[in-house]
C-alpha cells in the first residue's frame, strides 16, 4: 500500500514539474499603471518663487476644469519692498511727489488666471498658455502704489517626485499703475501705463480628490 501511495506521489510531483508555469493576461490595468505619481491631479497648491524677489509671498490654487482648461486663484502678502523693476522705472519719474525711499507699511494682492494645456494633459506635465489679471497694492507712509497687470504666459508644468509640482513661464503684457497720495497734502494721483513681463517660477503640491 505504502509503495502504491509513494508511486502516485512521485508521479504527481513529476507531472507538476513537467507542467510549464505559464503567466496569464491581466485586465487589472490599475495595478500596472500605479507608479505612485500624481499625474492625474485635480488641483495644484503653489507658491510663486519669483514673486519673493518683488517682496510678495504669492500663493495660488489651481483647479482643473477638464483635461484642457484650468482656473487659478492667487493671493499675495507683501512682506518686503523687494525689487520690482517696473515700479522702479515708474518711481524714477514720480520720485518728487512719491519718494521711493519711504517705508512699506502694508502690501496685498490677488490674481485670477485662466489656463489652457496642450495634449489634454491639464494640469500636471505639459506646456500651457495662460491669461492672468493681477492686482497688487503696496501702501507706503504717504502714498499707495497700485499695479494692475494683465499678461499672457507661455509656461511649462512639471511633476517632480510623486506629487511635487513645478511651474515655469515667460510673461508679457500690460501694467496699469497708479500712485495715490494718502496724506493731507494736495498731490494729484499719477497713472502710468507700460509693459509688464519677465520670467516666473514656482513650486507646489498636486492634489487628487
Amino acid at each position: 500500500m505504502t509503495r502504491i501511495v509513494l508511486f502516485f506521489c512521485i508521479g504527481y510531483t513529476l507531472n507538476a514539474f513537467s507542467q510549464k508555469d505559464l503567466p496569464t493576461t491581466d485586465s487589472n490595468a490599475k495595478y500596472y499603471l500605479d507608479d505612485g505619481k500624481n499625474t492625474d491631479a485635480d488641483a495644484d497648491f503653489r507658491i510663486a518663487a519669483t514673486s519673493l524677489i518683488t517682496g510678495f509671498l504669492d500663493l495660488a490654487y489651481e483647479q482643473r476644469i477638464n483635461h484642457t482648461y484650468s482656473v487659478e486663484l492667487g493671493g499675495g502678502y507683501q512682506f518686503n519692498k523687494g525689487v520690482d523693476v517696473f515700479k522702479l522705472v515708474d518711481d524714477g519719474v514720480v520720485s518728487l511727489s512719491f519718494p521711493s525711499d519711504e517705508e512699506l507699511t502694508k502690501g496685498m494682492g490677488f490674481s485670477l488666471t485662466a489656463k489652457r494645456y496642450g495634449g489634454e494633459e491639464a494640469i500636471s506635465q505639459m506646456t500651457f498658455q495662460a491669461l492672468t489679471y493681477r492686482n497688487r497694492t503696496s501702501t507706503f507712509e504717504t502714498y499707495k502704489y497700485n499695479a494692475q497687470d494683465i499678461f499672457y504666459t507661455l509656461g511649462w508644468k512639471y511633476l517632480l517626485s510623486n506629487s511635487i509640482s513645478a511651474q515655469a513661464g515667460f510673461n508679457a503684457g500690460l501694467r496699469l499703475s497708479k500712485y495715490a497720495h494718502t496724506g493731507t497734502a494736495r498731490i494729484k494721483d499719477v497713472k502710468k501705463t507700460g509693459f509688464y513681463g519677465g520670467f516666473s517660477a514656482g513650486f507646489g503640491c498636486y492634489i487628487k480628490y
Partner: protein, 582 residues
C-alpha cells in the same frame, strides 16, 4: 501591290507593334484621393478595411521646448496619435485622435495589429516604481474609431526608466501565417557596459564578441489571448560551445511552436565597416558564421538545427511553406580578410517536426549578374570593348601598375568582385510563391562619407561631413526545385544625410515579383527571365496636385499583393496615392 493590300499590311504592322510593346510594359494604375489637412506630422501605418476602404495612423506631438544654451532648458512633449478613415478611393471620411490615456497615465503606442479579423492596439507603459515596462492590448472599435473596453496586460520587461546608462527595453509582436497565434518578444533594458579606460583616458580595444547578453523573453498567445507558450530570459546557445547568438528572425507556426533564428555575433562583427577600418588583427576568427534555428514547442521541448560550419552565411530568413516545412533562405559568404562578402544564395528546407534537413540548395551569383551589379566590373568590360586600341592599352597599363602596387589584402578585395556582390549584406525580401518556390530580393546598399574642409578669408576652417546613403542595383533569385534562376535590375538612388526609412516595397503574386523602388515599379516574370519597369508618375515633379506646391513621400506600404499606398505630403497637406499593378 494595290491600295487595299498596303492597308492590310500597314494594319498588321501597327497591331503587331502595339502587341509587342504591350508585352514589354507593366500595367500600373496610379490614382489619388482628395487633398486634406492631416492631424499629426507623419504616417506610421495604413491598413485595408473589410469594406474596401482604408485606415491610416499618424503621429504628432503636443507641447514645446525652450532652451538657453545648456543652462536653461524647458521641455514638455506628449506624443499624440490620430486615426484617419478613407473610402476605397482614398478620400478622407473621418479623422480622429486616438486616446491612449488610461487612469491618468499616458501610454505609448506600440503597434496596430489585425488578429482574428479584429483590430487591436498595443500600447506600453513604463512604471518607474516597479522598474518595468508593460505591454497592453485594447480592442479597436471600427465604428467609433476608438479603443473599446479596458487595457489588458500581456507582457512585461525590466526597465529602470529613470536610470541612465541602460539600453532601451522593447517588444516585438508578430503573427503566425494563419493568424491563429501571436508571439510577443520582450527584451529587458540592459546595462550598457562601459569601455574600460586606460590611464590616459583612451578606451582599451576590446572585441564585443561574447560580451553581449542575448537573453530574451517571449509569450505565445492563442486566438483567445491565452498564453500557451512562454520562456523567460531564454538564450540560444550551442552545446559545448561558448558562442552566443542573438535573434535575427523569429516566427510562430500554425501549432503555436516558436522558431528562433539565432545569428552568431561574429557575423555582424564581420559585416561592419569599422572592423576593416580598425584593422582588427583577429580576422582569422571568421570561420564562425553559423546560424542556429531553435524550435520551442508549447510543451517546452526544443529542437535545434545548426548550419554547417563550413558554410559561411551572411544573412538568413525563416519562411514556412504550405506543408509546414521550414525554409531557411540565406546569403552565402566568402571571407576576404575582415569582410564576409556575399557570393550567392542558399535554401535549406527542414522538416517541421524534427528539423531534419530535407534539401539544401546553394548557388553562386552568375557572371552576368555580377558583371552588371558590380560597377567596377562594368567599367572593366567597357574598357575591354573599347575600339581605340591605344587608349585601351594605356588604361590597362595603368591598371596593371595599380595592381602591382597593391598589398595582398587590397588584391584580395579587388579580386572578390568576380565572385561576390560587393554591396549586399542582407536580405531585403524573401517569400514563397503559390508553388512553394522561394524568392529572394537583394539590394545593393552602401554608405559614403565625404568630409570636406573650407577655410574662409579670416583663416577659420570649417569641416563638413556629408553622408551619402546609396541604394543601388537589385538582384532577384528564385529557387525552382533544385534550380536557381537569377536576374538583376539596374538602379541608383542616393539619400543625403538621412537614410531611407524603407528603400523598397516588394509583393509576390502568381510567382511574379513586383518591386516599388524610388520612382519605378519593377516586375519580374515567374522564371525571372524578364525584368521590366515602369516609371511612376506620382513621384514625378511634373505631376501636380491642385493646392499642393511640392510633394514629399516619406512613407508607403504594400497593403496587398498588387496595391501599394503612399501619401504625398507637403506640411499638413496630404494626398494618398493608390498604385495598383496588374
Amino acid at each position: 501591290m494595290n491600295f487595299s493590300k498596303i492597308s492590310i499590311l500597314l494594319f498588321l504592322i501597327i497591331v503587331c507593334t502595339n502587341t509587342s510593346l504591350a508585352q514589354g510594359q507593366i500595367n500600373v494604375q496610379e490614382r489619388h484621393g482628395d487633398l486634406f489637412e492631416q492631424e499629426g506630422r507623419g504616417f506610421i501605418d495604413v491598413v485595408e478595411l473589410p469594406n474596401g476602404g482604408y485606415m491610416s495612423l499618424s503621429t504628432g506631438s503636443a507641447g514645446g521646448a525652450f532652451s538657453l544654451g545648456n543652462i536653461i532648458r524647458f521641455v514638455q512633449y506628449k506624443a499624440l496619435h490620430y486615426v484617419q478613415v478613407y473610402d476605397k478611393n482614398l478620400n478622407l471620411v473621418e479623422q480622429k485622435q486616438l486616446d491612449l490615456d488610461h487612469l491618468g497615465k499616458n501610454l505609448a503606442f506600440e503597434k496596430l495589429v489585425k488578429f482574428q479579423n479584429e483590430f487591436y492596439v498595443f500600447s506600453t507603459f513604463v512604471n518607474e516604481k516597479n522598474k518595468k515596462k508593460y505591454l497592453f492590448y485594447s480592442k479597436f472599435d471600427m465604428d467609433k474609431r476608438a479603443l473599446e473596453g479596458s487595457f489588458i496586460k500581456v507582457a512585461e520587461v525590466k526597465d529602470p526608466a529613470a536610470k541612465t546608462g541602460y539600453s532601451e527595453s522593447s517588444f516585438d509582436i508578430t503573427l503566425s501565417k494563419d493568424e491563429k497565434y501571436m508571439v510577443v518578444f520582450g527584451k529587458d533594458a540592459e546595462l550598457i557596459k562601459k569601455e574600460r579606460k586606460s590611464f590616459f583616458g583612451k578606451s582599451s580595444k576590446q572585441s564585443k564578441i561574447g560580451t553581449h547578453d542575448f537573453n530574451f523573453t517571449f509569450w505565445v498567445l492563442d486566438k483567445d489571448f491565452e498564453i500557451i507558450n512562454y520562456e523567460k530570459n531564454y538564450a540560444v546557445t550551442l552545446k559545448e560551445s561558448s558562442d552566443k547568438f542573438y535573434v535575427r528572425d523569429f516566427a510562430v507556426d500554425d501549432k503555436g511552436a516558436i522558431y528562433i533564428l539565432g545569428k552568431n555575433d561574429v557575423v555582424d562583427e564581420l559585416t561592419r565597416a569599422e572592423v576593416k577600418s580598425n584593422k582588427r588583427a583577429t580576422w582569422v576568427d571568421i570561420n564562425k558564421s553559423a546560424f542556429v534555428l531553435e524550435k520551442i514547442n508549447p510543451d517546452g521541448k526544443t529542437e535545434q538545427y545548426i548550419t554547417s560550419e563550413n558554410d559561411l552565411l551572411v544573412d538568413m530568413n525563416i519562411l514556412f511553406d504550405k506543408k509546414g516545412h521550414i525554409n531557411l533562405v540565406g546569403l552565402n559568404g566568402e571571407q576576404v580578410y575582415a569582410k564576409l562578402a556575399t557570393t550567392g544564395v542558399s535554401r535549406i528546407v527542414l522538416d517541421n517536426d524534427n528539423l531534419d534537413e530535407i534539401s539544401n540548395v546553394n548557388d553562386n551569383f552568375t557572371e552576368d549578374v555580377l558583371e552588371h551589379v558590380n560597377d567596377i566590373m562594368e567599367s572593366e568590360k567597357s574598357i575591354d570593348n573599347m575600339r581605340n586600341e591605344n587608349r585601351k592599352s594605356r588604361i590597362q597599363k595603368k591598371t596593371d601598375k595599380k595592381l602591382a602596387k597593391m598589398t595582398p589584402e587590397e588584391k584580395a578585395y579587388f579580386d572578390i568582385k568576380k565572385r561576390a556582390a560587393l554591396n549586399v549584406n542582407s536580405i531585403a525580401f524573401s517569400g514563397l510563391d503559390e508553388n512553394g518556390d522561394a524568392m529572394i530580393v537583394l539590394e545593393e546598399q552602401h554608405l559614403e562619407i565625404v568630409t570636406s574642409s573650407y577655410t574662409d578669408a579670416n583663416g577659420r576652417t570649417t569641416t563638413t561631413t556629408t553622408y551619402y546613403y546609396h541604394y543601388d542595383d537589385l538582384i532577384f533569385t528564385k529557387f525552382i526545385g533544385d534550380d536557381v534562376v537569377q536576374n538583376y535590375y539596374k538602379k541608383s538612388f542616393v539619400s543625403i544625410n538621412s537614410p531611407l526609412q524603407k528603400s523598397m516595397d516588394v509583393s509576390l503574386k502568381d510567382g511574379e515579383l513586383t518591386v516599388m523602388t524610388q520612382g519605378h515599379i519593377v516586375k519580374s516574370d515567374g522564371d525571372l527571365s524578364k525584368v521590366r519597369d515602369a516609371e511612376l508618375k506620382a513621384f514625378s515633379r511634373s505631376e501636380k496636385i491642385p493646392g499642393m506646391k511640392r510633394k514629399y513621400f516619406t512613407y508607403r506600404k504594400t497593403v496587398n499583393e498588387d496595391t501599394i499606398l503612399a501619401p504625398a505630403q507637403n506640411g499638413k497637406k496630404v494626398v494618398w496615392y493608390k498604385i495598383t499593378v496588374d
